[in-house]
Symmetry: C2
Subunit: 293 residues, 2 copies
């Protein structure tokens, strides 16, 4: 799902940006190998059933519960909303519950920070099924990644477009090399012979995530820590690891990007299929509630 | 519109009651003379566009603003929700803005207590039109009744089913007579010759609203206030006024009630028409937002 409606909850003032991002996200999906012939890719706002399901779920959760969602609380702080937080943003965990349950998802791949969203969904599923004495809604489980979220190339906790600290699937080989060269490392590792810190050093975090030769990484870490291994050497190795990984992705992305209309057509076709699936769930939901007039 | 989805915001646990009430409300509409050949009567939850429009509006209003809606605050108190108020209930003014604007309503007949809802709608219309540089949404105006809300027959501020203090359009002539006979009057008007109070006396409030002979009402009020006019006489006059007013309504209601399926068919047909109208507005809304993929 490409969550354009959710993006509007904190970007209502720039729908044009959201429209552009739909294509970018779709290209990323296609580039990493998600295959529309096997996986339905669709645009959230083109599935009206999600809005309706959200409305019914909103009656099953208290205002107070939403206020205390830890992820939302943190995001409000990060975004500096204060008291001026849009109501749509406050209720987005409920909209996510609709996104998940409309398609009967059993497993939802999420970052650690999104686990409260799955918990909210499970709560809503249980409440709905109990209240309407049914089993139409399925309880999802969170699947978290083996590696936690990658830090930004500036060492900050999170890659973010607005912080300009991210490596993109669309980056050329030159851009990738340049970004790796400029990556944050241990700021106290001034000379090659100084001992360096591996922890909090994004170059090693990336190597942990992407290098297959774990022994080599372990020995580089030991060398770096006792001193004598320069950042340039570690970074060169990271480029050797990342470029062959990203190169076919970049290549596929480039090919798909040459036919934006084809990508849009795929998304619209996927949205028709998603609409049919969501309509089936909604019919069951309305039947369970006894409002299937 | 029959607002079943809104009824769910504080009655999510009893959808069966809402389903039954749909027919009752439709019968009331038909009984008082709303003519489906001239006026579209429809069921809110059968218009999916309303849920979607609500979602976009929710991004244009702050959580804080909703919290301070005076009508909602009062209702939370009356219903004893406290902190456990359903999120759907908190956002219902936004859903009402969708109900109003989806059909381009210029005028909305409301009770005094609902004026904050029209104000919220006007705010949302202005914000939407300004933000998306458009004029697709129309600012509504409230139309309030000449007579304020009728008090309950027990003298309480509001007629309410749960308080058993209401006269229904479905009441038989006998029930009407019985209810008027039992109406609350001035509790200190014990003997016919005692001076009585007209203010806060629902029998006179009803006469003000329904009696055409204003002079007769004025003279009865004066007589009641100086003493010598018994409650039974005033109530008898109220019955003489109300019964001919309610009798044709009751008659029509009875006729329509003999064909509940016909009423449901009318509602479903009206809902198709309403859906088409709402879809046109929503298409304009999405176009204005630039999300008309």
């Amino acid at each position: 799902m490409i969550a354009d409606a959710q993006a509007l909850t904190d970007h209502a003032h720039e729908p044009q940006k959201i429209r552009e991002n739909i294509l970018e996200v779709a290209l990323d999906y296609l580039a990493v190998g998600i295959d529309p012939s096997q996986t339905t890719i669709f645009i959230q706002s083109l599935i009206p059933q999600l809005f309706e399901l959200t409305a019914y779920f909103l009656n099953l959760v208290t205002w107070n519960r939403l206020k205390h969602n830890p992820t939302v609380k943190l995001e409000i702080q990060q975004k500096g909303f204060g008291e001026e937080v849009p109501a749509g943003f406050m209720v987005y965990p409920v909209s996510q519950a609709a996104d998940i349950t409309a398609f009967g998802a059993h497993l939802v791949p999420v970052g650690d920070d999104q686990i409260p969203m799955i918990e909210q969904t499970v709560e809503l599923v249980r409440k709905f099924n109990r209240l309407y004495n049914t089993d139409v809604l399925i309880e999802p489980k969170a699947v978290t990644a083996q590696h936690a979220r990658l830090p930004g190339i500036d060492g900050k906790a999170k890659m973010s477009k607005s912080l300009h600290n991210a490596i993109y699937l669309s980056d050329t080989a030159d851009e990738l090399a340049r970004k790796i060269k400029g990556m944050y490392t241990d700021p106290n590792h001034l000379h090659v012979n100084d001992p360096g810190k591996v922890e909090g050093n994004p170059v090693f975090t990336y190597l942990d995530a992407f290098a297959h030769d774990k022994e080599k990484v372990a020995s580089m870490k030991a060398h770096y820590e006792r001193g004598g291994l320069g950042d340039a050497v570690v970074k060169k190795y990271l480029l050797e690891v990342l470029d062959p990984f990203l190169s076919p992705i970049r290549q596929r992305r480039h090919e798909f990007a040459s036919d934006p209309q084809g990508v849009w057509d795929m998304l619209l076709k996927g949205s028709v299929a998603a609409r049919e699936a969501a309509a089936q769930t909604l019919a069951k939901v309305r039947h369970a509630m006894g409002i299937n007039y």
